[in-house]
Symmetry: C2
Subunit: 542 residues, 2 copies
């Protein structure tokens, strides 16, 4: 009998279609054509217009030669063009590579080369960096399309041959976009700032994007027609897949070029925002706004944060201001969030301190993720559920990346033993909630951005007066963490804090530069290994 | 470059897992162990207990020899055993075949044979039918497990060697259930009452069950921890996949053995039910309850109905009583609902009559369905979107069945041209909403059950006094439709309405028997074809 359920019951076009988030936009355009899809300054695009503009972009890209597996890179702020790229690029078979606009020209140039970028859409705000990057690329010579935001005066200059609106103007609003041939096909490429060596290109596929898009709607309990404010950069893990989520339920995107307190509060009140995401720095921005900028909210706003556990005082202040904060966790390799601090209503009765302790835990898997555990990487067995034994956080499931582009060694290492190794260390509590304890890869997360301590150390070592350097995270109320540098000066040499700062700014993106510099002898083990845990204690007291 | 995104980026255990709704229950048991999963009379099962009981069932079935592709049939009411079967059976690789408890012994016997049932779980309420069916099977000799409901006195007798609770008592609560090897594997089997010949066995797979389970949560805007009342029989398309949906969001199942007004109102008020589904007859039951049974509700209850468009008066009365009614449409072949009357808030401003007209339309595709159209089956081109041109409603996507079991000819016919042919006739409105106009397969839907007019006619023709017979749907406020029989009596013979009724009860399940019998000459075309549309007009006036 086993065979009976497997014969003459094959896949065909009627009962099998590749999973892709592109179908969500087509549906919302059909069902909610007049509903506002995008708000940007004074601009409003309905779902009918959003879909038409995405198809025009796809059509224009196809005319420019973009086809299956070609990379389109985007150096864009949270603007309509960025949302349109999330649909228009894959609609013609292209792969969307969103660039972190805070990175320096050298890293951007590396990405353009590695991704073999065919078309680059770039916002004129970032023209200085991009102009330099284009002189640094070794092989990539992309067609450059400038996005000249009609709503904001951003300075900068136009670099390419054509402006975005002109580029899509001739596109076909009825472009017959194609479903991916296979749901395993790549939809996007996100470079993760590696701790050593070059950034790695994390490849997402249509299947995972579809599943997390729906998973977000379910995890965030989003009803039909939510209003979502773009405080999270879309270049981070494709905005945690929310550009696709909103099309599942006909939501409204409220774009936000700059994450500024007055603009956030204005949007919250005027557009009746229901949901927003962001690193802890966004909460600080909201809370520290001048009183004149703040507005009374007539509804609870859902705020999803990641990167660092929300501290008790911040949670209390956010609640006071009208927000419900949910703590998420994930990595670029898991399409953004894959773990949620799924809140148990019984915990509401706990004293504030214990509530914050519960809230600080990273939590449990999304329903869209099949496996999450804390595992001893040596034996590949789960650690005891005691909240104390440290192991490595590992993931298994359909919202784990396809792999690293052109880097089979890194992919094989990441997927060893049939689990994705996050590199994050944590514990498993008796109730099945995980909590991070340390990061094994020396990552400092500042304002939601990953900073490699090793990269900063490498830059410090380039200075002739530096004999030894070590960089660790210093806890920071506003930024979550900031890099703190400890330096041993070469005997006979002289070095000032200002000199170190200037040297770093010449060699690193601004956000990676140490906020504090301490000249001291570095504590070492008997074998000469720097004891970073001691430095972290010292940094906390600086 | 196209190749770069396709090489060294293969599926592995870390980044690919079969989609299956079984993972949802595992998650809810881990995250909400103490939350109430099932309410049944005075019984309460937490998610931890629900999961443990499902695993015990899986373990017991495995010990009884059930493995990949073996059929377990269930003749069950909406009880905990039925919910457990939705997980326990596929957890050991089995395929769940839910039997329509309203069918007669002959049809049940056919299903047991055709499905090659290895194990039958049967509620003692239905022992008379099942006992007879077991004498009628030609090849199936299943192990029979009786479900003897501890909460309700249902009469009947025990037929098998073991009672359900005893059967699972020795099962392993930690049974290491297996993920399906492939998400395309069968998870369940639902027999559809065919219009001619034998019932067809509709096969569902894990992938589709996963996607519609999530799709329901999204379409129904279900927040975390909804409370769902089981007014819809779970033997209908696996309860439209809601047995799996609730595990996505940690919902509470409120079981309901009998769809009676007092029990419904009591559950609505006492358990604060948020969602329920049912045919129009359920709305009639709710509304026509004695005033003493009705309760004031302190929240709006979401009611999802299908099978027939809700009439204006019913909508108004439901609204008055505290319900928001959403109209769905689908077929057994589409896992239940795949189309939703997605409500546009602007329509709220329309006069009641126009609102009801809008509400009567079947609507648009679920986000989980990739294609829905009204198509000319001859040319396979979509009909004009004019709300007038009639075509056949066709589906395309991942929530369309795997096919008909052991019936490749029927599968091929249903999937002709890469679309699933519903057999339902409808129109496409200019705004993209479909509306059914007639059913091409002579189905009468009474109280949510499909009745084949041809089957009833066949039964009538067996009576020696019947010369010609035709059965059509007669609109009915309570049942939606009822079968109305038109009979030409053989010259010289005599026949009374009572004789016809008695004859039908001997040959048909009770719910299929005509409610009205009219002796008349049948209107025919010049070629002798009976003009059913004229009979429908006549039936409406009976």
């Amino acid at each position: 009998m086993a065979r009976a359920y497997e014969v003459d019951l094959d896949k065909n076009a009627a009962n099998y279609q590749p999973l892709t988030p592109l179908t969500f936009l087509a549906r919302s355009a059909a069902v909610y054509p007049e509903h506002t899809a995008i708000i940007h300054g004074g601009l409003r695009y309905s779902y009918k217009e959003f879909y038409a503009r995405a198809r025009k972009l796809a059509s224009a890209l196809a005319a420019a030669g973009i086809a299956h597996g070609d990379t389109v890179s985007a150096m864009l702020a949270n603007t309509p063009a960025m949302l349109e790229a999330h649909y228009g690029v894959p609609m013609c078979g292209g792969v969307l590579n969103t660039l972190n606009t805070r990175l320096d020209a050298q890293v951007i140039a590396f990405s353009l080369d590695h991704a073999e970028t065919k078309v680059l859409i770039t916002d004129r705000e970032f023209s200085a960096t991009v102009k330099e990057a284009l002189t640094l690329t070794k092989s990539a010579k992309p067609l450059v399309i400038d996005y000249d935001d009609p709503q904001f005066d951003v300075g900068g200059e136009l670099l390419g041959d054509m402006e975005y609106e002109a580029f899509i103007a001739d596109g076909d609003a009825d472009f017959a976009w194609q479903m991916p041939e296979d749901e395993w096909r790549a939809i996007s490429l996100n470079y993760t700032s590696g701790t050593t060596g070059n950034p790695k290109g994390v490849v997402y596929h249509h299947r995972g994007a579809y599943l997390l898009a729906q998973g977000n709607a379910i995890t965030a309990s989003m009803q039909k027609h939510p209003v979502y404010l773009w405080t999270l950069p879309m270049f981070h893990c494709n905005g945690w897949c929310f550009p696709w989520t909103l099309s599942v339920i006909g939501g409204t995107h409220v774009c936000l070029r700059w994450v500024r307190a007055d603009a956030i509060w204005q949007a919250l009140a005027e557009h009746r925002v229901t949901h927003l995401c962001g690193a802890p720095i966004v909460m600080a921005t909201i809370l520290n706004a001048p009183d004149d900028d703040k507005r009374a909210l007539d509804h609870v706003v859902e705020f999803f944060t990641a990167a660092a556990p929300p501290p008790e005082a911040v949670l209390a202040a956010m609640s006071e201001a009208g927000f419900n904060v949910t703590h998420l966790y994930g990595l670029t390799e898991t399409y953004g969030p894959a773990v949620v601090n799924d809140w148990n209503a019984a915990w509401d009765a706990l004293p504030p301190g214990e509530r914050a302790t519960k809230k600080a835990r990273q939590g449990v898997r999304y329903a869209a993720l099949e496996g999450l555990d804390v595992i001893d990487p040596e034996t590949m067995t789960p650690v005891p559920r005691d909240g104390e034994t440290i192991g490595e956080v590992m993931f298994q499931g359909n919202i784990v990346m396809k792999g690293y582009l052109k880097n089979p060694a890194a992919s094989a290492e990441a997927f060893g033993g049939g689990w994705f190794h996050s590199g994050d260390l944590g514990v498993m509590h008796p109730d099945g909630y995980i909590q991070l304890k340390d990061r094994s890869k020396d990552i400092i997360i500042s304002g939601g951005e990953n900073i490699s301590s090793i990269e900063v150390e490498d830059a410090l070592y380039k200075h002739p007066a530096v004999q030894a350097a070590a960089v660790v995270a210093k806890p920071d109320d506003r930024w979550g963490e900031t890099p703190c540098a400890f330096i041993e000066v070469r005997p006979g040499a002289e070095l000032s804090v200002d000199e170190v700062m200037a040297h770093c700014r010449d060699n690193l993106a601004r956000f990676k530069c140490p906020r504090h510099v301490v000249f001291a002898e570095l504590p070492k083990t008997s074998t000469g290994k720097i004891q970073k845990f001691k430095l972290r204690e010292m940094a906390a007291d600086v």
